[in-house]
C-alpha cells in the first residue's frame, strides 16, 4: 500500500491540513488500514522534499500545516495509477510450500492437509462476507477492500481444489505421478 500516492490522491482534490489527510486516508480505505500520525507527517515531509507537494506556510508545524499538490505531484499520481504493480515473479507462498512438503512426506494424508487449509480460508471468507452484509452497503471503500480480500482468498481455495483434483487423479494412476519433467524442475529451481 503506497501511503505516498494515497496522500497525493487526497491532495489532488484540493489543499488539506495534515490531520485532515490522516482522517480522510482512513475513511477512504474502509478503515482497514489504520495509519499512525508519524507516518503521515514523515511521508508529507518526503513528498515536499521531492517537490510533489508544497506548503505555503513554512512556519507551521505538524497537524496545522496546509499542503497542496504540485504539477509534478499530479503527474506522478497519474503515472502511478496506471502503472501495474509487479505481479510477474510469484511470491514465495507459504501455503504452496507446505503442500509441496506434504506431498513428499510418507504417511501424510495430503488431501486432509488441504482440507484443513480450505476450512480455515472459508471461515476467514465468512468473516469478510459478514462485514459486507453489515456495513458495506453504506461504504463503497470498505466494500471494495472486502471484495478484493474475498477474491484473493477465493483464488487460494481454487488452487487447493485444483491440487485436490490432481492428487485424486495421481492416486488413481500412480505411474503418472513422480518426478516433475526436467524443464519444470529447472524453472522451479531458478526461484529458490
Amino acid at each position: 500500500m503506497s501511503v505516498r500516492h494515497a496522500l497525493l490522491g487526497l491532495l489532488s482534490e484540493g489543499p488539506k491540513y495534515g490531520h485532515q489527510l490522516r482522517q480522510e486516508f482512513e475513511a477512504r480505505t474502509g478503515e482497514v488500514w489504520p495509519l499512525n500520525v508519524g507516518q503521515v507527517y514523515t511521508t508529507l515531509q518526503r513528498l515536499e522534499r521531492d517537490g510533489l507537494v508544497a506548503s505555503d506556510d513554512a512556519e507551521a508545524e505538524g497537524p496545522q500545516k496546509d499542503f497542496r499538490i504540485t504539477a509534478q505531484g499530479q503527474e506522478e499520481l497519474d503515472r502511478w495509477l496506471r502503472t501495474p504493480p509487479d505481479l510477474t515473479s510469484p511470491p514465495r507462498d507459504e501455503l504452496v510450500i507446505k503442500v509441496l512438503v506434504a506431498v513428499q512426506l510418507p504417511g501424510v494424508d495430503v488431501r486432509e492437509v488441504l482440507q484443513v487449509h480450505r476450512r480455515y480460508l472459508v471461515e476467514l471468507m465468512q468473516q469478510w462476507t459478514r462485514l459486507k452484509e453489515d456495513e458495506a452497503e453504506f461504504d463503497l471503500a470498505l466494500a471494495l477492500v472486502v471484495d478484493a480480500e474475498l477474491f484473493r482468498l477465493d483464488s487460494v481455495i481454487r488452487w487447493l481444489d485444483a491440487a485436490d483434483g490432481r492428487l485424486k487423479r495421481a492416486d488413481a494412476e500412480p505411474a503418472a505421478a513422480g518426478a516433475p519433467p526436467p524443464v519444470l524442475r529447472r524453472r522451479l529451481a531458478v526461484r529458490r
Binding site: W33, R118, E123, R130, E133, L150
Partner: protein, 240 residues
C-alpha cells in the same frame, strides 16, 4: 428442533461393477432461520444430497425428516403436497417451463397449491421485482439470458411461504454482483424463518452461509465452526 434432518443417509446408483456410492452415511441438520452451504468438488454428491433432501429421490438407506416428519412414512400425495407448499427447489439446470412466461413460471407453484390466479400473480411480480426482473416478467425462458433464467428459478423457489429452500449451484451463470444479490435474497428469506441449503463449489457464495459443510466422495468430511466476529479483521494487526 431442526426443520430438515438427514440421518445416516446413503445413496447407491447402479449395480455390480457400475455401482456408485454417491452418498455415504451423511448426517445433516438445518434449523429454520439458518443458511447452510454444502461445498464439494464435481461428483462429490451435492446434487444427490439435495434431491434426497427435497424428496425428489429416495435414499438407499437412512432417513430424511422435514419438520420432524419422516419422508419414508409419507404417502405419495403427502410428499407431492410438501414439495408444492413447503419446499422451494432451485435446480442446477433451472428447469423453467418453456411454454410459460417468467411470471407464470414463478406463480405456478402457488396456483398448483390452490392460490387464486391474481394473488399468485401479485406474489410472483413482487419477487421478480426484488430480483430486478419485473421488465422481463412477460418473457419466455428462451427470451431470457442465462443469468436471468437463473434468477427466475430462484424467484420460483422462494415465492409464497416456503419453509425450506434447496438451491443447487444457484449462481452458476451469474456474475459476482448477481451472485451476491441471490445470496442476500436467500439470507433475507432465512431471517424470515426459512431453512436453506445451498450447494455450490463457489467459496464466495458459500461464505454467505453461517455453516459450511464439506463433501468429498459422498461423505461429509468437515464443516466450519461459527466464525468470530468480523471486527477482528479490522484490528491493526491485519495491516500489510
Amino acid at each position: 428442533m431442526s426443520f430438515l434432518e438427514l440421518r445416516d443417509v446413503s445413496r447407491v446408483y447402479g449395480e455390480g461393477a457400475n455401482e456408485v456410492h454417491a452418498l455415504q452415511n451423511v448426517n445433516l441438520a438445518v434449523e429454520r432461520g439458518s443458511l447452510v452451504a454444502v461445498m464439494g468438488p464435481s461428483g462429490s454428491g451435492k446434487s444427490t444430497l439435495l434431491t434426497i433432501a427435497g424428496s425428489l429421490e429416495e435414499p438407499t438407506s437412512g432417513e430424511v425428516l422435514i419438520d420432524g416428519r419422516s419422508l419414508s412414512n409419507m404417502s405419495h400425495n403427502d410428499k407431492a403436497r410438501l414439495r408444492r407448499r413447503t419446499v422451494g427447489y432451485v435446480f442446477q439446470d433451472f428447469n423453467l417451463l418453456a411454454g410459460l412466461t417468467a411470471a407464470e413460471n414463478v406463480s405456478l407453484p402457488l396456483e398448483l397449491d390452490g392460490t387464486g390466479a391474481r394473488k399468485a400473480r401479485d406474489a410472483a411480480m413482487a419477487v421478480l421485482d426484488e430480483l430486478g426482473l419485473v421488465d422481463r416478467a412477460g418473457h419466455y425462458p428462451d427470451q431470457l439470458s442465462g443469468g436471468e433464467r437463473q434468477r427466475v428459478a430462484i424467484a420460483r423457489a422462494i415465492v409464497g411461504e416456503r419453509h425450506l429452500v434447496l438451491a443447487d449451484e444457484p449462481s452458476g451463470a451469474l456474475d459476482s454482483a448477481n451472485g451476491e444479490a441471490v445470496m442476500r435474497m436467500l439470507l433475507t428469506a432465512c431471517k424470515g424463518g426459512v431453512a436453506a441449503v445451498v450447494v455450490t463449489h463457489d467459496a464466495q457464495l458459500a461464505s454467505w452461509a453461517e455453516r459450511v459443510v464439506f463433501l468429498r466422495d459422498g461423505r461429509v468430511v468437515d464443516q466450519t465452526v461459527p466464525p468470530p466476529s468480523p471486527e477482528s479483521l479490522l484490528e491493526p494487526s491485519v495491516q500489510p
